[in-house]
Symmetry: C2
């Protein structure tokens, strides 16, 4: 492959497509000479969007795809039927080695189905989880699985822990990341059937820094770097996180605007407050990769704006540079073979 | 039973016992002539605490119990071994009809074990969930199960939905409460195995206002009144709720104190802000009853202060007045018999 990191970007997926996608791509290539973006989607629409920007022409390319998979479509049916959709075409670019990564803000289920079906899992990886970075008091933590596999077996969670640990160390730069499993208490006997069966397997893993259970209340405090759970629980955590932060901020703004005195106070405090709350903005942290695939497939928020798209593209560069997939293949899978 | 509501209160359980328990009891009886509290625990300790308060002597009684179940103890072993603990003695008061309710801030697992073993489930009720009221933007919602049963079957969730609906309507006063099941998306095909199997059963229930799935992101917004899930997911929701609210408020306070300008603003805005945030204080909403038992057993937060203890005692009055248990027995169980 080239010295460039080549990112195929779904120009048609997400609430703010195509404008936010195109702007994010332009911002990314203007900031980094080693990135090439292939905008995948309806060529005429993309061309019109691109015409208002200045950017190095050799760093952005268009790959025409005439169909679009909508958010509400059934994932399996959509991937099967819409062979010329931006998502299917983009995933084939990764499969065929024409791109290092595919990024989409579109239908998550379809991206998962397509990622598994077109790009495929690394041999030996049983399930591919979404690994999502999210804000905590001390910085950022990784949640795996944040929604790809709603029913899991213990061996799946063990692989999530290993892949999450690798990602957190190599992409985010956290040395010897603390891995914890979501549980209802810290005591040894606590947990549902899945957690109780997984716990001894995680304790045996010598290649991760497993610190035991984490109660949900301690997640925002940053008590672990890699948070492991099945995709149902992970989805609940991630979405409650977003929803509650949003609601609380609305409630707080309402409180600040409730009296004249507090309005004046709010006006004075607002710049500092905004800066602090930005730390708790999930969109700052880029997208969620499907860990364990043969290529890099990344989901960004459906509501992603240009800034998040740009950050997600940057994330792909680190992913490639750190050779995450090669590392997963050479470590987790070889180890699994030894067991067999 | 008498015209009084008689509440047995575990004077020894919780982080702030016995002082917060005794003060909560005193505050409750001073506010309501129709309440009698039996303080259960070490008589001498309770007497010393009580001596500093003025209250109607006929409304507070002491029941001596020489042992205390600690928070870290194994629930089953503790209930079995410590026959003269405040928890076991208090639960027997309910079983024997000497009290209408037992309230404890102590070891949740022990309270669950003791509630099931000593007070017992209403015949036909398969599992007893904790039903916890928690703050949402529009007021308050009920979460069932918030932690009693970490592995559930579909029939359990259906009973949680029915009992939760009764509680929300009769105790909280929400007419025709909207019941929703926690899920990873709103679409028909979404869900883990448990949710997929439970969904059609809930749709068939004619006695509840089932509105379908709720995504975790919409819980804080108040999109449903009764939120149904297994106790593992419920515990994650409740604890993340508490933890994230706490972390965000700390982060916001930090932001407000970061510059001189914002400090002045914060001083002006603080009273209004505090008032608003009080709405999001879970302790305002009293305790979590174990729904479906033959008597009322209520868990308050381990960190409960006098105000929460008092509110929980008030809640027991409504529970008794509305004859919740009788209603559960006569409706849910008779219906179940019909099915058999």
């Amino acid at each position: 492959m080239s010295d460039y990191t080549i990112v195929a970007l779904d120009a048609m997926g997400g609430d703010n497509a195509p404008s936010a996608m195109v702007q994010g791509a332009v911002d990314a290539v203007n900031a980094n000479k080693a990135i090439k973006v292939i905008l995948v989607g309806k060529e005429d629409v993309i061309k019109t969007e691109l015409s208002s920007y200045t950017y190095p022409q050799d760093q952005i390319e268009i790959k025409n795809a005439t169909e679009v998979i909508e958010t509400a479509e059934h994932p399996v049916a959509a991937i099967k039927k819409k062979k010329d959709s931006s998502m299917v075409v983009g995933l084939h670019l990764v499969k065929d080695g024409e791109a290092d990564a595919f990024v989409s803000a579109g239908n998550s289920g379809a991206l998962l189905t397509g990622g598994l079906g077109i790009v495929g899992r690394i041999r030996g990886i049983e399930r591919a989880p979404f690994g999502t970075l999210f804000p905590v008091k001390t910085g950022v933590a990784l949640l795996a699985d944040s929604g790809a596999n709603v029913d899991c077996r213990p061996s799946h969670l063990v692989q999530f822990a290993k892949m999450g640990s690798i990602y957190m160390e190599k992409v985010v730069g956290v040395k010897n990341p603390r891995v914890a499993i979501v549980n209802v208490g810290a005591e040894e006997e606590k947990g549902n059937a899945l957690v109780k069966e997984t716990m001894p397997l995680l304790k045996e893993c010598e290649d991760i820094n497993f610190i035991g259970s984490i109660e949900a209340r301690n997640i925002p405090n940053g008590d672990a770097d890699v948070i492991i759970c099945d995709g149902f629980v992970g989805n609940v955590i991630l979405k409650l996180y977003e929803g509650l932060a949003g609601t609380l901020i609305t409630v707080i703004k309402g409180g600040l605007m409730s009296t004249l005195r507090s309005k004046i106070g709010a006006a004075l405090a607002l710049p500092a407050l905004k800066k602090t709350l930005k730390k708790f903005d999930a969109s700052e942290y880029g997208g969620a990769p499907l860990l364990g695939l043969k290529g890099l497939v990344v989901k960004t928020h459906g509501s992603a704006k240009a800034g998040e798209v740009r950050n997600t593209i940057f994330q792909c560069v680190t992913f490639k540079e750190q050779q995450i997939n090669e590392f997963i293949r050479d470590n987790i899978v070889i180890e699994k073979k030894k067991e067999d």
